[in-house]
């Protein structure tokens, strides 16, 4: 589809969705009326900038069903996102929504090279989280055999991967590393397994993490992006070129805005990603602020797809820590940690305030295999800490205290990892 055809389709769908929420969601009708807008003012996709934003707070304030547009009789599934603060976010899906989601997921998996001959393990959590069931439907749609492994019982899962000759896996990147570690402990080697495709998402990850997972599991790792408010995983997906993730923009229209001024930014500039659902019936959202920071790329991809791409998530506008006035993203710390082979690819950031001064401590795990006879003095261990501290300082522009932990002591996450403890907020 050409760019012009796509924009025409998006314009038509935008008009329809605005008309739909105007008549079915009092929250949006009130907002549009306050702004003196009617659905007739929105006729092309360029008109989207006139529309109001929606935030996570709006979803919480309208808990549980305030933003639902379809009547309950049309809703066939309800997911809830992890509510770390306040109410969880409730998302209801109509039969058509599930169909669109399944289609988007199938597109993603096809782009990863998965097909009917594959045995596909879904190791996202099944349940309220959208990862498990979302991926599950997509795998069935492409005709592969789905193994609904979910999370937990990793040893059993590892044995199944070996014994069934499982070829594809969908999970979080941190779970993939945990799985690799479990397999190594069990003595299952790379040549005993047949994994070739990994669909990794639900948390930001770096190129270094990709290399590590690929090396340890012997597969090719693809990014899959999504969020439950918009649909779930498969809002965007990588192709074989792995140069950004293609957005299913016939269903989810992306924009990048400056999170401070809320002004739209041109392609190529980094800012906050915003989505408008163009076809959703259950809970359509206009200009939903994802808090994810990235940039958009237009222009054709090497793979031949014409749909727009988004860069890797470089942080979150709310995960962003401001420490002594400096913006710090956990992903920056991750990129440093991954350059040091003595240290496991896991970390925790602990931010505190001592005597009115912000402090940052980075906890990392010593790798068991790198502790040897030359490392058995405090001087040698301190040298390693200092090396990491110096690298962190050069990347973060602020000093961080490094704490080396024993192997296996930083909590492994099976879902989204919590990598930051900010003790400043509690005081």
């Amino acid at each position: 589809m050409s760019r012009e055809q796509m924009r025409e389709l998006q314009g038509k769908r935008l008009h329809k969705i605005v008309e739909y929420v105007y008549h079915n969601v009092p929250f949006y009708r009130n907002k549009l009326q306050e702004m003196d807008l009617t659905p007739e003012d929105i006729t092309t996709i360029d008109d989207i900038v006139k529309l109001p934003f929606t935030t996570k707070k709006d979803l919480r304030d309208n808990y549980p069903f305030g933003l639902q547009a379809a009547p309950n009789s049309e809703i066939i599934r309800i997911h809830a996102s992890s509510g770390t603060t306040g109410n969880p976010t409730i998302v209801g899906y109509t039969r058509k929504d599930i169909g669109v989601w399944t289609e988007c997921m199938a597109r993603s998996l096809t782009a990863f090279g998965a097909g009917r001959d594959d045995i596909f393990s879904v190791a996202y959590g099944y349940g309220l989280f959208t990862g498990g069931l979302g991926a599950h439907n997509g795998v069935e749609k492409i005709g592969a055999a789905v193994v609904p492994a979910s999370t937990g019982n990793t040893e059993k899962h590892a044995r199944l991967i070996r014994d069934l000759g499982i070829t594809c896996i969908a999970c979080t990147p941190s779970y993939a590393l945990y799985l690799a570690e479990t397999m190594e402990k069990m003595g299952i080697t790379k040549d005993q397994i047949q994994l070739r495709v990994g669909a990794f998402g639900a948390e930001p990850w770096t190129e270094g993490m990709r290399q590590e997972i690929q090396q340890r599991l012997g597969l090719k790792g693809f990014n899959i992006y999504g969020l439950s408010e918009i649909m779930g995983p498969s809002v965007s997906y990588e192709c074989d070129a792995q140069h950004g993730s293609h957005i299913n923009e016939d269903h989810f229209f992306p924009e990048i805005i400056d999170p401070a001024t809320l002004e739209p930014l041109p392609y190529g500039q980094k800012g906050e990603l915003v989505f408008t659902t163009l076809t959703k019936e259950g809970m359509p959202l206009l200009r939903y602020r994802t808090r994810d920071l990235c940039s958009l790329m237009d222009g054709p991809c090497e793979c031949g797809r014409t749909n727009i791409r988004m860069s890797a998530i470089e942080g979150r506008s709310d995960d962003m820590l401001i420490i002594r006035g400096i913006n710090v993203f956990p992903s920056q710390v991750e990129s440093v940690v991954l350059t040091m082979e003595e240290i496991a690819p896991r970390y925790m950031l602990i931010v505190d305030r001592v005597n009115n001064l912000d402090t940052l401590m980075v906890q990392v795990e010593l790798r068991q295999e790198y502790f040897n006879a030359t490392m058995d003095t405090p001087a040698a261990i301190d040298e390693l800490s200092k090396k990491l501290a110096a690298k962190l300082k050069s990347v973060l522009s602020i000093a961080a205290k490094v704490q080396l932990k024993a192997p296996g002591t930083i909590e492994r996450s099976q879902g989204k990892s919590t990598r930051v403890i900010d003790n400043r907020k509690l005081k």
Binding site: Q368, N372, A373, M375, D376, T377, I381, L404, K405
Partner: protein, 139 residues
């Protein structure tokens, strides 16, 4: 001329030391001597024990950061100045001692140490006819 020693990286917080000791107990391995080089956040727990190779393998399998190395273990005269007399020999030969600890073995004081100049240390031990323990003595 040396004996095997286990070095274990442990965090300086409650529960970490007992975890290692319980693992050693479960393996029915006897500790002969131990010492901890501690800092505010972590420590290096060094152990001389029976069956060091098996202890190393089992601790490693339990996920512990453990290293196996060789250290010198010299017998001391059981009288005042015994340690000074031995260390003086190394000091005069300009051999630096990285760390050191002592234990009693069959009634004799044993000085355990690590140096950065292993070859020179061996020569000094031979030249001065110092008595030392070997792995076989502890087996």
């Amino acid at each position: 001329m040396t004996i095997p020693q286990l070095s274990i990286f442990i965090e300086n917080r409650s529960g970490t030391l007992i975890k290692v000791l319980e693992l050693i107990k479960q393996s029915h391995i006897q500790m002969i001597a131990c010492t901890i080089a501690d800092t505010a956040e972590y420590g290096i727990f060094r152990i001389i024990c029976s069956e060091p190779d098996r202890a190393y393998t089992e601790l490693k399998a339990a996920g512990v950061a453990v290293a196996l190395s060789e250290v010198f273990a010299l017998e001391l005269d059981n009288q005042p100045g015994g340690a000074a007399d031995v260390v003086r020999i190394f000091s005069d030969a300009s051999i630096g001692i990285t760390y050191m600890y002592a234990f009693l073995y069959k009634g004799n004081g044993i000085l355990v140490f690590r140096t950065d100049q292993d070859q020179e240390a061996r020569e000094v031990i031979s030249a001065n006819g110092l008595h030392y323990l070997t792995a076989e003595d502890l087996a």
